[in-house]
């Protein structure tokens, strides 16, 4: 079978890619390490969002809700109560996946589908943003700030530290989430997700519990997004409702997985590798040239080109180039 040689190639190339990522901080400085960490966070959210959209077929345009709440939970627990993020992350995961379940439950129970579901997710995210902008406890529009890292800081306890620390920590988180999602989409649950995505009624006729399966996707996706938000809070040190809960945040997060390839595991990572540096470059070029908004224009153009010319995204093309595609038909659900 050619299947096993393809698998071997996949593992080999994947390992090389990981090895490069592990060694990269030795040669690049803090600025680039931070940018790469931003890529990992974008990829992490992209993986989570893609689980819901690409594999389970639910369009969420309100993932900022989970990102922002996750960020605020981790930051508030650390800053207000002095609790380690080791506790903050699990709590953040539970809270955000709970929120995902609530939004999903309301949407699916009331039969809110398609466009309506997307609007519902936006409504919840915007509602949360406005709430946080009027809530004293979280600092209103003035934002929430984490104290500066103490000199005797021990990164493994506070989970705060240098750019290099965040680099490895977020890389590990992203890798873990990627492996988990990879396992999930290949599992029994993954089959049910794809069945419901392709045709909910037909899937139900085959005995698939569409409601439960959809809820699981929403909950897991939201939880992972919350973790990503937590890392963003620790790394950034400041949070504003607009910068983590705003609609632009939700929109920005869906660009990478779409550019990379919906319904593929590697798509969100490839997408983040393309989109984040492009955004940085465009921002700097825009500032240098006095052209505010260049990065937004570029984002829009890229998204436009992909959705018009290559709706499957970049990954399927690259996978073919690298001879990574397994089955000939594995276009959307290949690795």
């Amino acid at each position: 079978m050619s299947g096993s040689t393809t698998t071997r190639r996949q593992v080999a190339l994947g390992s090389i890619f990981l090895l490069i990522l592990l060694l990269l901080p030795l040669v690049v400085d803090g600025y680039y390490q931070t940018m790469l960490t931003t890529i990992f966070i974008t990829a992490l959210v992209g993986i989570a969002w893609n689980l819901m959209m690409g594999f389970a077929g639910q369009l969420s345009l309100g993932h900022a809700l989970y990102f922002g709440i996750g960020a605020y939970v981790v930051a508030l627990m650390a800053e207000r109560y002095g609790l380690s993020p080791w506790l903050g992350f699990p709590v953040g995961f539970l809270v955000t996946s709970g929120l995902g379940l609530v939004v999903g439950f309301l949407g699916f129970r009331f039969g809110v589908k398609g466009v309506y579901f997307a609007l519902l997710t936006i409504a919840f995210a915007e509602f949360a943003r406005l709430l946080f902008e009027h809530w004293d406890y979280v600092g209103k529009t003035g934002g929430l700030f984490l104290g500066s890292v103490k000199p005797d800081n021990r990164s493994l306890i506070t989970l705060r530290g240098s750019a290099t620390f965040y680099y490895y920590a977020v890389l590990a988180t992203t890798l873990f989430a990627w492996l988990w999602c990879g396992y999930l989409v290949r599992s029994r649950l993954g089959y049910f997700w794809r069945a419901v995505r392709d045709d909910e009624d037909a899937a139900r006729a085959l005995g698939v519990r569409a409601f439960r399966v959809n809820l699981l996707a929403a909950g897991i996706s939201a939880g992972i997004t919350g973790i990503a938000g937590g890392w963003f809070a620790l790394m950034n040190g400041n949070l504003f409702p607009e910068s983590v809960l705003g609609m632009r945040v939700s929109i920005d997060f869906i660009i990478a997985p779409i550019v990379g390839g919906l319904g593929t595991l590697c798509g969100p990572i490839l997408g983040a590798l393309i989109v984040v540096p492009l955004n940085e470059i465009a921002k700097e070029a825009g500032q240098a040239l006095g052209l505010n908004g260049l990065n937004i224009l570029l984002y829009g153009t890229l998204l436009f080109i992909v959705i018009v010319a290559a709706p499957d995204g970049c990954w399927p093309w690259l996978a073919n180039r690298l001879a990574l595609a397994g089955r000939s038909s594995s276009k959307p659900d290949g690795p």
Binding site: L59, F110, M247, G293, L297, G300
Partner: protein, 290 residues
């Protein structure tokens, strides 16, 4: 005290009429093509810049810039639908959504590059004139904007009801396949609908340009307000858009003085969530459109 509330209510209703025009455009596009225009607020802001540009560069009054915005946005909408939108007619819903998101980003980015992030405002003597009705003082620019918006909506309704193209549009919204069967050129009809939808948003933008400080980043707020209105009123229902616009205008105005000026949208989103869950077809919508 009563006068204060009455004043706020009237102000809310007036801005609500303009919202209704924005929402009517969104609703027309949705009604005919079953597509949600995520770039609607961007078109409104485009209209605002046309209003601003016409005033700042050429000193043209609002009445002229409104006509200009209508023509430009109609042309833009028509061409966009003809060249790109129609290719997406049979694509999955999320693809259509993403197409409009990309359009929204392109417009916002383009406007930000062209005009910069700083607020632009139209300052003319007219901005300070008021009408006095009894003890009520009504801002003249605002009233003119509201009446013009209502006039455009009325004209659009009449056109949809009595003109041949309008009837074709309605037929297409009832049944695309049936419409094709009776010889409606669906590509052309879709493009007309998009053109009119964009024109509504553009006109609304030019009308409110004297009332707001225009920045490229206002667009998301307008898009969201339009979404809220059409969901509250009923997707694909034109009277629903009118009713929804007035309700949201009123709610925002009253919320601003009853609670806090910045809390107004909170109430709108609460309303939106409640409607989505308990009456997803909206107040005046008949059936689930999807």
């Amino acid at each position: 005290m009563i006068e204060l509330y009455a004043g706020v209510a009237i102000n809310g209703l007036m801005i609500g009429a303009v919202y209704a025009l924005v929402a009517t455009g969104l609703n027309l596009i949705f009604g005919v093509m079953r597509v949600v225009n995520f770039a609607h607020g961007e078109i409104v802001v485009g209209g605002m810049y046309i209003g601003y540009g016409a005033w700042a560069l050429l000193g043209l009054p609002t009445s002229v810039s409104v006509a200009l915005a209508a023509i430009v946005m109609f042309g833009f909408g028509y061409c966009f639908q003809r060249l790109i939108g129609n290719q997406f007619a049979n694509r999955p819903q999320h693809a259509q959504f993403v197409l409009y998101i990309s359009l929204a980003l392109i417009i916002t980015g383009g406007l930000a590059m062209a005009f910069g992030p700083d607020p632009r405002s139209i300052q003319s003597a007219a901005s300070f004139s008021v009408y006095k009705i009894g003890s009520l003082r009504v801002d003249a620019t605002r009233l003119q904007a509201a009446l013009s918006a209502a006039g455009v909506i009325l004209a659009l309704w009449l056109w949809l009801r009595f003109s041949l193209t309008g009837k074709a549009l309605q037929a297409a919204s009832q049944n695309i396949i049936g419409g094709r069967a009776i010889g409606i050129r669906i590509d052309h009809v879709f493009a007309i609908a998009t053109g009119i939808g964009f024109a509504c948003a553009g006109i609304a933008g030019a009308l409110i340009a004297p009332l707001y400080d225009t920045t490229p980043y206002l667009s998301a707020d307008f898009t969201l307000i339009a979404f809220i209105i059409v969901i509250v009123g009923g997707l694909a229902s034109l009277p629903g858009a009118m009713l929804g616009g007035l309700i949201i205008g009123l709610v925002e105005g009253l919320a601003a003085i009853l609670f806090d000026p910045s809390a107004k949208s909170l109430l709108s989103y609460g309303l939106l969530i409640a409607i989505l869950l308990f009456r997803p077809m909206g107040l005046l919508g008949k059936r689930r459109a999807l």
